[in-house]
Symmetry: C2
DNA sequence: CGAAAATTTGACTTTAGTCAAGATGGGTGG
DNA sequence: CCACCCATCTTGACTAAAGTCAAATTTTCG
C-alpha cells in the first residue's frame, strides 16, 4: 500500500497520470503493457495473475485501493503478468522513468519503496508456503484472514464484516484449487458457523475457530 | 547472480566480509540473523526456505555460487527465512548499511540490483504457478530444467550432465511433495529414459521429452 | 565397520479433481 | 413486469493424484 506524501501528490496530479475507470471483469493491464508505465489501483478490487497456455491461471495477489501491482516493476519491465478488474476499478498509470527520478531525489520515498519491497517479498514467500504445504481448508481460511487484515489496515472492515466481491473462480485461482472444491469448503465453513456470506459481503462469525483452521499465528 | 565489478571487488576484500565455510547439511543463516548483515553464496549449493511450526518446510530457492539470498534483504531486514547448506558452502556476509551507501554512489550497481529484483520477482511468480497449478511430474521436470539453465549460465554444465547434490528431501520441499512421491516420479523418469542419476550427478538423456513433461517453453 | 540417514517399493487411505446435472440469481430486452 | 439468458454456484457420484504407513535396502558418514 502506498502512503501518499507531498511528492506523490504532485504526481497524481500530473497530466500523465489521470485516472482511468475499468468495468468489473475486464482486463486492466495486459502482459505486454509493462514496458513504460506502471499501474496503481485507486479504487475497487483487482487481481494480478499469470495465465498458462492451457488456460489455467494463478492469482498472485488481490489488489486493493492504494496497491502498486508490483514493486519490482518500478525498476524495470516485468513479464507475463496481467491484471483483471474484479469490481469496477479506477487506476492511474505512472511513467517508470519519472518514478526513478523521483526516487533518486527523495530519500523518504526510497525508504517507503524499500518497505514495500520487503512486504511484497514476504507475501510471495507466504504464497509459496500456502500453495506448497497447506491443505485446501487452511488455504481458504488464510486467504480470508489475509484479506480481512489488509482491509482493516485501510479502514475497510466493519466489525467482522467486509465487502467480498470475489467469485469462487477468484478464490480457486488464488489458492490453486478448483471452483468445485472451493464451493464445498466454503459451504462447510458456513455450516460450521465460521463465516457467513451474503450479498457479496462476508462476516467472520467465529474468529477463534477460523484462526485455528487457518493455523494463524 | 551477482556479476562482480570494481566496487564489488573492493567489497569482497574488506575485513568485514571475509568468507566463511559451513559443512554440508548445517544451517548457514537463521531466521533471526537478518538484522544487520546479508549473506552471499561464494561456493557450493544451499537452500533458502521457510519452516513451519509443524516441521514442514518450503524451499523458496536453491542458491548457487554468486547468489544473493534475497534482493529485498538488501533494503531491510526480512523475516522467517533460513538458509541451509546442501553441500559444503562458502559465503560472505555484508553489512546492509554499507551496501546501501555503495548503491547510492554507484549507478551501475543500482542497475544491476534492479535487474536482480526483477529476476527474483519473476522466479517467485513461477514458483507460485508451479506449486498452485502443476502436477507432480511437471514440477519435478521443471525443477531439473531450472537448475540446468542456471548452472549452464555459470558454466557448470558438462554437456547434459550436472552435479546433483540434492537429496529427495530437498526436491520434495521445493516442489511441495513428499519424499516418497518424489522417489516414485524420479524412478519413472529414469525408467522412461529421460534422465539418469548416479554418483550425485544427473544427466538429461532425453531433453525433448523432458521439456514435454515439464511443459517447457 | 556400524549407526544413522536416505532411498525404494507396495498396499492402502485421503484429498482434491472431474464430470454431470440442477438450482440460483442478476441483468436485459420485450 | 416478466421471460429468458448467461454466469455462477451447488451437490453428488466417481476418479485420479498424491499422501501415509510400513518394511526392506542402500548409501553415507563418523
Amino acid at each position: 500500500m502506498l502512503t501518499p506524501n507531498a511528492d506523490w501528490h504532485a504526481w497524481t496530479l500530473s497530466p500523465e497520470s489521470s485516472s482511468k475507470t475499468i468495468p468489473a471483469r475486464r482486463t486492466v493491464w495486459h502482459p505486454k503493457d509493462w514496458t513504460e508505465f506502471v499501474p496503481v489501483i485507486c479504487s475497487g478490487w483487482a487481481a494480478a495473475s499469470i495465465v498458462l497456455s492451457n488456460g489455467h491461471r494463478q492469482i498472485l495477489s488481490f489488489l486493493l485501493p492504494g496497491d502498486l501491482v508490483s514493486t519490482a516493476s518500478l525498476f524495470g519491465p516485468i513479464s507475463g503478468r496481467s491484471v483483471e478488474a474484479i469490481t469496477e476499478v479506477q487506476y492511474r498509470k505512472f511513467r517508470r522513468d519519472d518514478i526513478k527520478v523521483l526516487l533518486r531525489k527523495n530519500q523518504d520515498m526510497l525508504d517507503q519503496v524499500s518497505k514495500l519491497m520487503i512486504d511484497e517479498r514476504e507475501q510471495a514467500d507466504h504464497l509459496a508456503v500456502d500453495l506448497g504445504r497447506r491443505m485446501a481448508d487452511e488455504r481458504i481460511a488464510r486467504q480470508i484472514l489475509y484479506l480481512a487484515k489488509r482491509l482493516a489496515k485501510r479502514g475497510m472492515m466493519n466489525g467482522q464484516t467486509m465487502a467480498f466481491p470475489l467469485r469462487h473462480r477468484h478464490i480457486a485461482d488464488a489458492t490453486g484449487l478448483t471452483i468445485h472444491h472451493v464451493s464445498k469448503v466454503l459451504a462447510a465453513f458456513q455450516r460450521a458457523g465460521l463465516i457467513s456470506i451474503a450479498n457479496r459481503s462476508l462476516t467472520i462469525t467465529n474468529v477463534t475457530e477460523l484462526h485455528k483452521v487457518g493455523v494463524w499465528p
